[in-house]
Symmetry: C2
DNA sequence: AATCATTTTAGAACAATTCTATTTTGGAGG
DNA sequence: CCTCCAAAATAGAATTGTTCTAAAATGATT
Protein backbone atom coordinates (compact mmCIF):
# COMPACT_ATOMS: atom_id res chain seq x y z
CA UNK A 1 0.00 0.00 0.00
CA UNK A 2 1.79 3.07 -1.28
CA UNK A 3 0.96 6.72 -0.69
CA UNK A 4 -0.60 7.14 -4.10
CA UNK A 5 -2.64 3.99 -3.67
CA UNK A 6 -3.82 5.12 -0.28
CA UNK A 7 -4.76 8.46 -1.80
CA UNK A 8 -6.93 6.82 -4.44
CA UNK A 9 -8.65 4.77 -1.77
CA UNK A 10 -9.11 7.81 0.43
CA UNK A 11 -10.66 9.84 -2.34
CA UNK A 12 -13.24 7.12 -2.84
CA UNK A 13 -13.91 6.70 0.86
CA UNK A 14 -14.34 10.44 1.31
CA UNK A 15 -16.95 10.49 -1.44
CA UNK A 16 -20.60 9.50 -1.40
CA UNK A 17 -19.40 6.09 -2.50
CA UNK A 18 -19.35 5.86 -6.28
CA UNK A 19 -17.02 7.76 -8.56
CA UNK A 20 -15.86 7.46 -12.11
CA UNK A 21 -12.13 7.21 -12.85
CA UNK A 22 -11.80 10.72 -14.23
CA UNK A 23 -13.40 12.21 -11.16
CA UNK A 24 -11.17 10.12 -8.90
CA UNK A 25 -8.23 11.35 -10.91
CA UNK A 26 -9.34 14.96 -10.55
CA UNK A 27 -9.68 14.69 -6.78
CA UNK A 28 -6.53 12.63 -6.27
CA UNK A 29 -4.56 15.20 -8.21
CA UNK A 30 -5.60 17.81 -5.66
CA UNK A 31 -3.95 15.70 -2.97
CA UNK A 32 -0.95 14.71 -5.09
CA UNK A 33 -0.40 17.13 -7.95
CA UNK A 34 1.96 14.63 -9.57
CA UNK A 35 -0.80 12.05 -9.85
CA UNK A 36 -1.32 10.66 -13.29
CA UNK A 37 -4.36 8.99 -14.82
CA UNK A 38 -2.58 5.71 -15.44
CA UNK A 39 -1.66 5.51 -11.78
CA UNK A 40 -5.29 5.96 -10.84
CA UNK A 41 -6.23 3.09 -13.13
CA UNK A 42 -3.41 0.91 -11.84
CA UNK A 43 -4.46 1.48 -8.29
CA UNK A 44 -8.15 1.05 -8.91
CA UNK A 45 -7.35 -2.34 -10.39
CA UNK A 46 -5.08 -3.23 -7.50
CA UNK A 47 -7.64 -2.15 -4.93
CA UNK A 48 -10.30 -4.21 -6.70
CA UNK A 49 -8.09 -7.28 -6.66
CA UNK A 50 -7.47 -6.71 -2.98
CA UNK A 51 -11.22 -6.63 -2.46
CA UNK A 52 -11.19 -3.17 -0.91
CA UNK A 53 -13.37 -1.59 -3.57
CA UNK A 54 -15.58 -2.76 -6.39
CA UNK A 55 -15.79 -1.93 -10.04
CA UNK A 56 -19.24 -1.34 -11.46
CA UNK A 57 -19.56 -1.24 -15.19
CA UNK A 58 -22.64 0.18 -16.82
CA UNK A 59 -24.08 -0.58 -20.20
CA UNK A 60 -23.36 2.86 -21.56
CA UNK A 61 -19.67 2.42 -21.06
CA UNK A 62 -19.22 4.34 -17.82
CA UNK A 63 -17.18 2.68 -15.10
CA UNK A 64 -17.86 3.54 -11.52
CA UNK A 65 -15.87 2.45 -8.50
CA UNK A 66 -17.71 1.62 -5.32
CA UNK A 67 -16.15 2.10 -1.91
CA UNK A 68 -18.41 -0.64 -0.54
CA UNK A 69 -17.26 -4.03 -1.82
CA UNK A 70 -20.11 -6.04 -0.35
CA UNK A 71 -22.74 -7.20 -2.85
CA UNK A 72 -25.63 -4.89 -3.56
CA UNK A 73 -27.29 -3.32 -6.57
CA UNK A 74 -27.13 0.14 -8.04
CA UNK A 75 -29.27 2.81 -9.58
CA UNK A 76 -27.99 5.59 -11.80
CA UNK A 77 -29.76 8.92 -12.10
CA UNK A 78 -30.54 9.66 -15.73
CA UNK A 79 -30.32 13.39 -15.03
CA UNK A 80 -27.01 13.82 -13.21
CA UNK A 81 -25.31 10.42 -13.47
CA UNK A 82 -25.13 9.99 -9.71
CA UNK A 83 -25.00 6.37 -8.60
CA UNK A 84 -27.04 5.22 -5.64
CA UNK A 85 -27.07 1.98 -3.67
CA UNK A 86 -29.99 -0.41 -3.78
CA UNK A 87 -30.82 -3.47 -1.75
CA UNK A 88 -33.05 -5.62 -3.88
CA UNK A 89 -32.84 -8.82 -1.90
CA UNK A 90 -31.62 -12.23 -3.00
CA UNK A 91 -31.92 -11.94 -6.75
CA UNK A 92 -29.72 -14.94 -7.34
CA UNK A 93 -32.33 -17.18 -5.78
CA UNK A 94 -35.19 -15.28 -7.40
CA UNK A 95 -33.62 -15.65 -10.85
CA UNK A 96 -32.77 -19.31 -10.32
CA UNK A 97 -36.43 -20.08 -9.85
CA UNK A 98 -37.15 -18.72 -13.28
CA UNK A 99 -34.52 -20.48 -15.38
CA UNK A 100 -32.59 -23.71 -15.60
CA UNK A 101 -29.43 -21.98 -16.70
CA UNK A 102 -26.71 -21.69 -14.07
CA UNK A 103 -26.45 -18.13 -12.76
CA UNK A 104 -22.80 -17.34 -12.29
CA UNK A 105 -23.39 -13.66 -11.64
CA UNK A 106 -25.33 -10.77 -13.06
CA UNK A 107 -24.91 -7.12 -13.92
CA UNK A 108 -27.83 -4.95 -12.94
CA UNK A 109 -28.21 -1.21 -13.18
CA UNK A 110 -31.51 0.50 -12.51
CA UNK A 111 -32.19 3.83 -14.18
CA UNK A 112 -33.84 6.31 -11.89
CA UNK A 113 -34.11 9.99 -11.04
CA UNK A 114 -32.34 10.78 -7.80
CA UNK A 115 -34.14 12.77 -5.07
CA UNK A 116 -32.09 15.90 -5.82
CA UNK A 117 -32.96 15.91 -9.51
CA UNK A 118 -36.55 15.04 -8.74
CA UNK A 119 -36.76 18.12 -6.54
CA UNK A 120 -35.27 20.28 -9.27
CA UNK A 121 -37.76 18.89 -11.78
CA UNK A 122 -40.67 19.85 -9.56
CA UNK A 123 -39.37 23.39 -9.21
CA UNK A 124 -39.28 23.83 -12.98
CA UNK B 1 -37.05 0.68 -45.75
CA UNK B 2 -34.20 0.38 -48.22
CA UNK B 3 -32.59 -2.78 -49.57
CA UNK B 4 -29.58 -2.44 -47.30
CA UNK B 5 -31.77 -1.83 -44.31
CA UNK B 6 -33.89 -4.84 -45.12
CA UNK B 7 -30.71 -6.90 -45.46
CA UNK B 8 -29.54 -5.91 -41.99
CA UNK B 9 -32.92 -6.83 -40.57
CA UNK B 10 -32.96 -10.10 -42.47
CA UNK B 11 -29.54 -11.10 -41.21
CA UNK B 12 -30.73 -10.63 -37.66
CA UNK B 13 -34.00 -12.45 -38.24
CA UNK B 14 -32.20 -15.37 -39.86
CA UNK B 15 -29.96 -15.71 -36.80
CA UNK B 16 -30.62 -17.28 -33.41
CA UNK B 17 -31.68 -13.83 -32.34
CA UNK B 18 -28.74 -11.90 -30.91
CA UNK B 19 -25.77 -10.71 -32.88
CA UNK B 20 -23.04 -8.17 -32.42
CA UNK B 21 -22.54 -5.43 -35.03
CA UNK B 22 -19.37 -6.89 -36.50
CA UNK B 23 -21.03 -10.25 -37.04
CA UNK B 24 -24.05 -8.58 -38.60
CA UNK B 25 -21.67 -6.69 -40.85
CA UNK B 26 -19.89 -9.90 -41.83
CA UNK B 27 -23.11 -11.65 -42.76
CA UNK B 28 -24.69 -8.65 -44.46
CA UNK B 29 -21.59 -8.26 -46.61
CA UNK B 30 -22.17 -11.75 -47.93
CA UNK B 31 -25.57 -10.62 -49.19
CA UNK B 32 -24.39 -7.20 -50.33
CA UNK B 33 -20.63 -7.14 -50.97
CA UNK B 34 -20.73 -3.34 -51.06
CA UNK B 35 -22.04 -3.17 -47.50
CA UNK B 36 -20.04 -1.00 -45.19
CA UNK B 37 -19.82 -1.02 -41.42
CA UNK B 38 -21.20 2.51 -41.06
CA UNK B 39 -24.29 1.49 -42.99
CA UNK B 40 -24.82 -1.42 -40.63
CA UNK B 41 -24.63 0.94 -37.67
CA UNK B 42 -26.91 3.47 -39.34
CA UNK B 43 -29.49 0.82 -40.03
CA UNK B 44 -29.26 -0.82 -36.65
CA UNK B 45 -30.00 2.56 -35.13
CA UNK B 46 -32.84 3.19 -37.55
CA UNK B 47 -34.35 -0.24 -36.92
CA UNK B 48 -34.14 0.33 -33.18
CA UNK B 49 -35.92 3.66 -33.48
CA UNK B 50 -38.57 1.96 -35.56
CA UNK B 51 -39.00 -0.59 -32.78
CA UNK B 52 -38.25 -3.55 -35.03
CA UNK B 53 -35.19 -4.67 -33.11
CA UNK B 54 -33.62 -3.92 -29.77
CA UNK B 55 -30.17 -2.92 -28.72
CA UNK B 56 -28.72 -4.72 -25.72
CA UNK B 57 -25.64 -3.21 -24.19
CA UNK B 58 -23.49 -5.21 -21.82
CA UNK B 59 -21.19 -3.98 -19.13
CA UNK B 60 -18.09 -5.28 -20.86
CA UNK B 61 -18.68 -3.02 -23.83
CA UNK B 62 -20.18 -5.52 -26.23
CA UNK B 63 -23.35 -4.47 -28.00
CA UNK B 64 -25.81 -7.07 -29.15
CA UNK B 65 -28.87 -6.54 -31.29
CA UNK B 66 -31.97 -8.57 -30.54
CA UNK B 67 -34.44 -9.53 -33.24
CA UNK B 68 -37.18 -9.71 -30.62
CA UNK B 69 -38.10 -6.21 -29.46
CA UNK B 70 -40.52 -7.26 -26.73
CA UNK B 71 -39.19 -6.95 -23.18
CA UNK B 72 -37.30 -9.83 -21.70
CA UNK B 73 -33.97 -10.46 -20.05
CA UNK B 74 -30.74 -11.95 -21.31
CA UNK B 75 -27.97 -14.25 -20.28
CA UNK B 76 -24.53 -14.31 -21.84
CA UNK B 77 -22.36 -17.42 -21.88
CA UNK B 78 -19.01 -16.68 -20.32
CA UNK B 79 -17.41 -19.33 -22.52
CA UNK B 80 -18.58 -18.52 -26.02
CA UNK B 81 -20.33 -15.16 -25.70
CA UNK B 82 -23.63 -16.49 -26.99
CA UNK B 83 -26.62 -14.54 -25.78
CA UNK B 84 -29.74 -16.36 -24.61
CA UNK B 85 -33.22 -15.17 -23.76
CA UNK B 86 -34.56 -15.26 -20.23
CA UNK B 87 -38.01 -14.68 -18.83
CA UNK B 88 -37.56 -13.60 -15.25
CA UNK B 89 -41.04 -12.27 -14.62
CA UNK B 90 -42.12 -8.80 -13.63
CA UNK B 91 -38.92 -7.41 -12.20
CA UNK B 92 -40.17 -3.84 -12.38
CA UNK B 93 -42.76 -4.64 -9.76
CA UNK B 94 -40.37 -6.79 -7.76
CA UNK B 95 -37.78 -4.02 -7.65
CA UNK B 96 -40.34 -1.35 -6.82
CA UNK B 97 -41.23 -3.19 -3.66
CA UNK B 98 -37.65 -2.89 -2.49
CA UNK B 99 -36.97 0.79 -3.07
CA UNK B 100 -38.66 4.16 -3.06
CA UNK B 101 -36.71 5.38 -6.05
CA UNK B 102 -38.64 5.53 -9.32
CA UNK B 103 -37.60 2.71 -11.63
CA UNK B 104 -37.48 4.10 -15.14
CA UNK B 105 -35.86 1.02 -16.61
CA UNK B 106 -33.04 -1.36 -15.88
CA UNK B 107 -30.18 -3.11 -17.62
CA UNK B 108 -29.74 -6.72 -16.63
CA UNK B 109 -27.36 -9.29 -17.98
CA UNK B 110 -26.95 -12.68 -16.35
CA UNK B 111 -23.67 -14.50 -16.79
CA UNK B 112 -24.11 -18.17 -17.42
CA UNK B 113 -22.67 -21.17 -19.25
CA UNK B 114 -24.82 -22.16 -22.18
CA UNK B 115 -25.91 -25.80 -22.61
CA UNK B 116 -23.45 -26.34 -25.48
CA UNK B 117 -20.47 -25.14 -23.50
CA UNK B 118 -21.64 -27.03 -20.45
CA UNK B 119 -21.65 -30.21 -22.51
CA UNK B 120 -18.15 -29.51 -23.75
CA UNK B 121 -16.95 -28.88 -20.22
CA UNK B 122 -18.24 -32.26 -19.09
CA UNK B 123 -16.45 -33.99 -21.93
CA UNK B 124 -13.14 -32.51 -20.85
C1' DA C 1 -36.22 15.11 -66.39
C1' DA C 2 -35.43 18.00 -62.08
C1' DT C 3 -35.48 18.36 -57.30
C1' DC C 4 -34.57 17.30 -52.70
C1' DA C 5 -34.49 14.62 -48.68
C1' DT C 6 -32.68 10.32 -47.32
C1' DT C 7 -29.25 6.83 -47.49
C1' DT C 8 -24.78 5.23 -48.26
C1' DT C 9 -20.02 5.68 -48.20
C1' DA C 10 -15.10 6.51 -46.85
C1' DG C 11 -12.44 7.83 -43.68
C1' DA C 12 -11.43 10.73 -39.80
C1' DA C 13 -12.42 11.48 -35.02
C1' DC C 14 -13.39 10.11 -30.50
C1' DA C 15 -12.89 8.64 -25.69
C1' DA C 16 -12.14 5.54 -22.13
C1' DT C 17 -9.19 2.15 -21.04
C1' DT C 18 -5.14 -0.63 -21.58
C1' DC C 19 -0.47 -1.44 -22.84
C1' DT C 20 4.56 -0.73 -23.25
C1' DA C 21 8.73 0.74 -21.99
C1' DT C 22 11.28 3.71 -19.04
C1' DT C 23 12.08 5.89 -14.65
C1' DT C 24 11.36 6.28 -9.90
C1' DT C 25 10.52 4.67 -5.40
C1' DG C 26 11.04 2.43 -1.03
C1' DG C 27 12.06 -1.43 1.70
C1' DA C 28 15.38 -5.59 2.87
C1' DG C 29 19.79 -7.27 3.43
C1' DG C 30 24.54 -6.49 3.70
C1' DC D 1 24.33 3.97 5.26
C1' DC D 2 24.68 1.73 0.72
C1' DT D 3 23.15 -1.45 -2.80
C1' DC D 4 19.92 -4.00 -4.94
C1' DC D 5 15.52 -5.38 -6.46
C1' DA D 6 10.79 -5.80 -7.14
C1' DA D 7 6.89 -3.01 -7.24
C1' DA D 8 4.88 1.29 -8.51
C1' DA D 9 4.57 5.39 -11.16
C1' DT D 10 5.01 7.78 -15.35
C1' DA D 11 4.56 9.34 -20.25
C1' DG D 12 2.77 8.52 -24.08
C1' DA D 13 1.32 5.38 -27.69
C1' DA D 14 -2.06 1.91 -28.94
C1' DT D 15 -6.38 -0.11 -28.97
C1' DT D 16 -11.25 -0.75 -30.14
C1' DG D 17 -15.93 -0.15 -30.98
C1' DT D 18 -18.69 3.45 -32.11
C1' DT D 19 -19.91 7.94 -33.82
C1' DC D 20 -19.25 11.88 -36.72
C1' DT D 21 -18.47 14.50 -41.01
C1' DA D 22 -18.74 15.61 -45.48
C1' DA D 23 -19.24 14.07 -50.00
C1' DA D 24 -21.51 10.98 -53.34
C1' DA D 25 -25.32 8.10 -54.58
C1' DT D 26 -30.03 6.91 -54.47
C1' DG D 27 -34.87 7.10 -55.11
C1' DA D 28 -39.29 8.87 -54.64
C1' DT D 29 -42.17 12.88 -55.99
C1' DT D 30 -43.09 16.70 -58.88
Amino acid sequence: MTVKRAAVLQVLRDSQGHLQPDEIYRRAKELYPGMVLATVYNNLHALCEAGLIRRIRTADGADYYDKTPTPHEHAVCTECGMMLDLELGDLHTAFSKKTDLPILSYDLIVHTVCPDCKAKQKQA
